[in-house]
């Protein structure tokens, strides 16, 4: 067990997999940094510090710094992965999926299906996402709903240092395409990381807190906020069953059903805007499959139907907060059928 920052766990995990399998390669903008500059390569190692030292160790054929061309980055990673490599592509901000979505949605996600099950494309697309940096509307978005909706993709949203190691290792070794979403505000977070080989299977939620009154479902940054809220609610005698879903596709339906059947109340926390979101996805699942157990309306705490604004006051009003989560839980608890 070592205590590490998430950004370092990512680099070390990629390093271990590159050492283990020579077919693993990386592509992205500035993942080496300094190519063609007076200062020379490895001047930076990724603007998020998630690939430092890898170019020096594995060279330009495996750690590939690219021009600003996201469609070509994903296309190149896809073509390499279709032909025997295992490519890890970094899109610097998840918001940039807008310029390369076709390659993800109509190519990578559909290859195997279109080709009658006769191909594999073991690609991992890493995308830093989320608000918290006052990075304004085009650099703060959460895109998990969009990719979760795409058949053919697996979608991972780790929240702890240990989970980052276990889930990224699984992602790199998975033969299906994986979207690996890293919350920007979590890169600096430290946590205990198991030594040696460590894999966490997809589709298994993590139980964060246990309780019998209300089920809270969250992912990414929202897990920590929900945990804060749960602690406060516990003081008021409200027991929260908080699940960190870890992967949105596949989804741990069983854990969700077990919990809701026990609590009868559901609260979903999602950083993204409300329409056609992952929050509505979970609500619809429960409203169909666990309706009989529901004692109260399904509550959702999400971002508003607006872009993510810049100013500190606006961004913090935009993002769900522990207080809003507490209020929603209390609302669910105080509901009485008229």
């Amino acid at each position: 067990m070592a205590r590490q920052m998430i950004r370092d766990v990512i680099r070390d995990t990629i390093d271990a997999e590159m050492a283990r399998d020579e077919n693993v390669i990386m592509l992205g903008e500035d993942i080496v940094g300094g190519m063609g500059s007076p200062g020379g390569p490895e001047a930076i190692g990724g603007i998020w510090g998630t690939s430092g030292g890898l170019w020096a160790k594995y060279g330009s054929d495996r750690v590939i710094d690219t021009p600003i061309s996201e469609s070509a980055i994903i296309g190149a990673a896809a073509g390499a992965s279709l032909t025997g490599k295992r490519a890890i592509a970094e899109i610097m901000f998840a918001d940039f999926i807008g310029v390369c979505m076709d390659q993800i949605w109509n190519q990578v996600a559909k290859f195997r299906y279109m080709f009658g099950g006769k191909s594999k494309c073991p690609i991992v697309i890493r995308m830093p996402y989320g608000a918290g940096y006052n990075a304004a509307p085009q650099h703060s978005q959460s895109i998990h709903a969009m990719v979760t909706a795409m058949p053919g993709l697996k979608v991972v949203m780790p929240t702890t240092a240990a989970d980052v190691k276990g889930l990224l290792t699984t992602a790199i070794r998975d033969d299906d395409p994986v979207i690996f979403l890293e919350h920007k505000a979590l890169y600096g977070l430290k946590g205990e990381v198991p030594d040696g080989e460590y894999l966490i299977p997809f589709g298994h939620a993590r139980q964060v807190t246990q309780g019998d009154d209300v089920t809270i479902l969250a992912t990414g940054m929202m897990v920590g906020f929900a945990e804060k809220a749960a602690a406060q609610l516990a003081q008021d005698g409200i027991g929260c069953d908080l699940l960190d879903l870890r992967t949105t596709s596949p989804l741990d339906e069983e854990a969700i059903m077990d919990s809701v059947e026990r609590t009868g109340r559901l609260l979903i926390v999602d950083e993204a805007p409300p329409r056609c979101s992952f929050a509505t996805d979970l609500s619809a699942l429960v409203a169909n499959k666990a309706f009989a157990s529901l004692k109260a309306p399904i509550e959702m705490v999400t971002g508003p139907h607006s872009p993510v604004p810049f100013a500190r006051e606006l961004e913090s009003a935009y993002v769900p907060s522990p207080d809003k989560i507490v209020a929603a839980a209390v609302k669910a608890m105080s509901y009485r059928r008229g």
Binding site: G75, A76, G79, K85, Q103, M114, G116, K118
Partner: protein
Amino acid sequence: MQHSREALIQAYRQMKTIRVFEERLHDEIALGEIAGFTHLYAGQEACAVGVCEHLGPKDYIISTHRGHGHCIAKGCDVVGMMKEIYGSSDGLCKGKSGSMHIADINKGMLGANGIVGAGAPIAVGAGITAKSNGTVSIAFSGDGACNQGTTFEAMNMAVVLKLPVIFVFENNHYSEHTGESYAVGAESMTVRSAAFGMKAIKANGIDFFSVYDAMRELIEYCKAGNGPASIELDTERFYGHFEGDPQRYRGKGELDRLREERDCLKVFRTKVTEAKLLEGADIDAIDAEVEALIERAVVESKAAPRPTADHVLEDVYISY
């Protein structure tokens, strides 16, 4: 042109197979036998075959919406292709793809593609693998696709990474209903490709030998580690953009003239017979063979099993 008799017979058989495959599809579609959108390759055979006769299974190609010719030239099973287009569960892609997405990774054929311009970036990735194998990666594109941002990005990235990728632009002078002279603002797509920093040449896309010789040069160039190259092939499309296209954008008598003067199969036959490399009889024999093959493909396709509802959710994932 120093080609062995076997090589010439093989090249002709491939071109003829594509031609008969497409002409037969044209008829079958008119009969309402076949569903979906089908884009026929007839007229451009010298391009696909002139390129692919140089390639082995570890060389990669990626194709377009007009992919039948590339598939056949790269060695995809013709009967399996026909079954696919007929929507059979025995089809090369189990009836999931139809005409527009046929692929056979084991043959190095990375797929026809319904998204114009999507192929070039993927070919760059195959070029990364090709570089480590000492093979090459080929991106087929059209005179319309060359204007798509993805194609430009792919060309620049291939140059930056010095990859063995060849961008083959089949200029059949139309993108759907639009003339190439309108949509390509540059003096020519070749001049434009050259300015990206790659070797860029042109060849005669209705002459197998012109395409074949030009490609030999480019493949040697790329395998020698010089980075990517591009080639523009002046060719012709004999049918509509898609089956059902009224083709009002054609000039008066244009199609008859093309069939008469710009048919790559006629050009080939004349060249090899005049040069006494093959007899008319050799060619007639291949024609008969090919006709029989396509007839069998159609008959088998009509009788082939159809997929059932439970197939819909198969092959979305390897494991989920």
